[in-house]
Amino acid sequence: MLFYVIKRFIQMIIVIAIVATIVFIFVNMLGDPAVLLLPPEASPEELAKARAAMGLDSSPWEQYKLFVVNVIHGDLGNSFVFREPAMKLIFERMPATLEIVVLAMFIAALIAIPLGVYVGAHPNTFASRSILSLSLLCISMPTFWFGIVLILVFSVQLGWLPSSGRGDVVIVWGMRLSFLTWDGIKHLILPAITLAVQQLATQLRLTRAGMMEVLRQDYIKFAKAKGVSPHDVLYGHALKNALIPVITVYGLEFGGLVVFATITETIFAWPGMGKLLIDSINISDRPVIIAYLMLASMLFVVINFIVDILYTVVDPRIDLR
């Protein structure tokens, strides 16, 4: 196990190094940050001064060497725009994103898994067919459009829920959290539902596929032959097996939402990380882009690691070497 952890850690370092390098090359091809940061009427002298201040006046190779040295010293650089450490900016935004993502995944799982089990177990009923078509609709529905519709219905027409922002927050260990106040919870609902909808559909279809596959297996029939009730057969014997492949997807989807919930965050003016990435790309805020994508790759490696551990919990056949 220890060996495994060490192996994964080394893997992570390599992945992050590669990602950082690729991203570094890539951001160098983005627009000139000085031009984007300064007003359009800025003079060439001003631009030159700004470039020097951002450390962009040396050759890309020099810049890269400096970057590597700094990273080794744990310094990912300051945002060109905010003049604050890039990592600090990202971590500031992270709790907001985690809040909607965790809630969304939770809502999705809560609905998708029982429905998926039902649909997988009774594929030919009218209800199953309706659920399945509905899930297709959920998948093909653009997040953007759906979010706006929710706002128009629940905020503008009915006035039940706020359209945007985080509402009242409670500060816990420096993190601003919405879910601990009633007003905050009201603000959470719409963005979380928007994020959850596609998740829900994906999870439902995965659970269904898993169930259909598992229900064909001999051990299910054997369980029935033992006199196990249909409910226990589905939830006790079949579900755990059906969920094995779902776990990977669940983990990756989680990571994906955390890092790229941009659209939902933008619609609901939710001050999360995804928006930071897009804004940074738009104005070529290189340190933030690089730090962000390094963090993202680290997140995925960690999620994969957790998924692997979960696998051993769910599926005893898997052994971590």
């Binding site: 700004a50 706006i148 905020s155 503008v156 409670v170 933008t266 003016a269 001050p271």
Partner: protein, 522 residues
Amino acid sequence: MKRIVILMLAVAMLIFCGASVMAAPTRAETLVIGTTGDATTIDPHASNAMWSNNITINVFDPLVRKVFDKAGKFTLVPSLATKWEQKSDTIWILTLREGVKFHNGDPFTADDVVFSIKRYKDSTTGGAGFVQPIASALALDTYKVQIRTHAPYAILVLDMADIYISSKKHFEKVGEEGILKRPVGTGPYKFVEWIKEDHITLDVNEKYWGAKPKIKRAIMRPLKNDATRVAALLSGEVDLIYNVPVRDIDRVARGANTEVKAIPGPDVMHINIDVTRQRTPGYKNGKNPFLDPRVREAFAIAIDRDSIIRNVYGGHAYPTGQLPIPGAYGYVESIKPYPYNPEKARQLLKEAGYPNGFEFVWDVPQQRYFNDGPCSQAIAGFLAKVGIKAKLNMIPSNQYLSYINPGDKTTAFYGASGTGKGDIGYWYNRMFYTRDKKEGAGGSNRTHYSNPTVDKLLDEADSTADVKVRKAKLEEVTKILYQDYAIIPIYQYEEPYGLVKGLDFTPRVDAFIFDVHTMQKK
């Protein structure tokens, strides 16, 4: 089971130990503003970004304050400077207001003015442009400052309206980092908090030296998404929004509790073409066709501005024939948009030796300006009708300026320029002064325009201390550019604001958007 309960209790305890609940402000005394973006900094001297300026104007006082009327025209009223006298062509003496205190209690003095101007100058992130004409500032006594400009500069007072003063003492105490945490000014509002991408809160400065602001608390919320911003206004979550999207203007105007206030904004969309170089990068078949004035005229009159404004902007824009907006120095009342006349355009092309038209590359940005894609396509459509084939070279927004700025790739480009400052001189110098001839001029002359008369007029405008002379020279340039077709203005943007009924609000036509202390809620 027991273990789970204990665990949950422990978690709850931990949460509430580290918790402190934020008090909610009273809604009636609060003005919530929906902006289109977050501030990039709250340091007034570090940037010229719109939403940073919007904080600056409320937390800090300028030397001179611009006050706008309903028509969008401004007057200059004394603010931290109560008097300004010109001692010589390049030396000005400012008399400062006495008894003004910063939010932290420090008294306001000449040192703060000198300090602020120096900080602007040192900015590498966009602040330096505000004080570009100023060579030095010197404190003569506690309430007197001497300002020296590089050259005679007639419109220093306009620049003074954009110069905001922060506390030198405070800076010395807290340093760069402290200033980013809590800006301290003399303005009508005090900074409370900035939660990035969520909100910036400002509370009224009860000790403000001027007229007492009516609104107790102002909250700026970045609502980048158009539909969200409109929804927040319609649902009453915000009181005032910037930039109502064209498709929602009717909805907001007809809303039970909302209305729209729209005025022509400071930005003019235009096409610049290379009318100077013999060979030009965007034309492959020999001599630059735009050298022929008939071709340029054909280009200018082939575009039906009214149709574009109607179809692409839903009527929410104003056709124009010049870069300066009404009221700005350099604006010429008599210049009207180039008239739409496709037959004449075809005729002119034939006379110029292009009976079958020609093809050139037109550099356009992608989503840099509002509806730029549809607009440039519509323009290309009109040009095609008379035989000029514009090949659209679409460039991602964040690479656009880097692409066109060096001037070695572009023959014609699509751009926007603003005269929010109230004077077009700076822009003319950057865009039309011959390249590499004079330090600090011609830097944005991407089409290599070169006209000795224009250079001379601009030199004269920049070397007079007399506003009237300057105005006359700039107007002269505007007329020449019109005749030269070096720039083909298309339209002036409209700036539509959405607001709740009963809010007393006058839009500003400059780079500082919401001056909250001039507003009042019913």
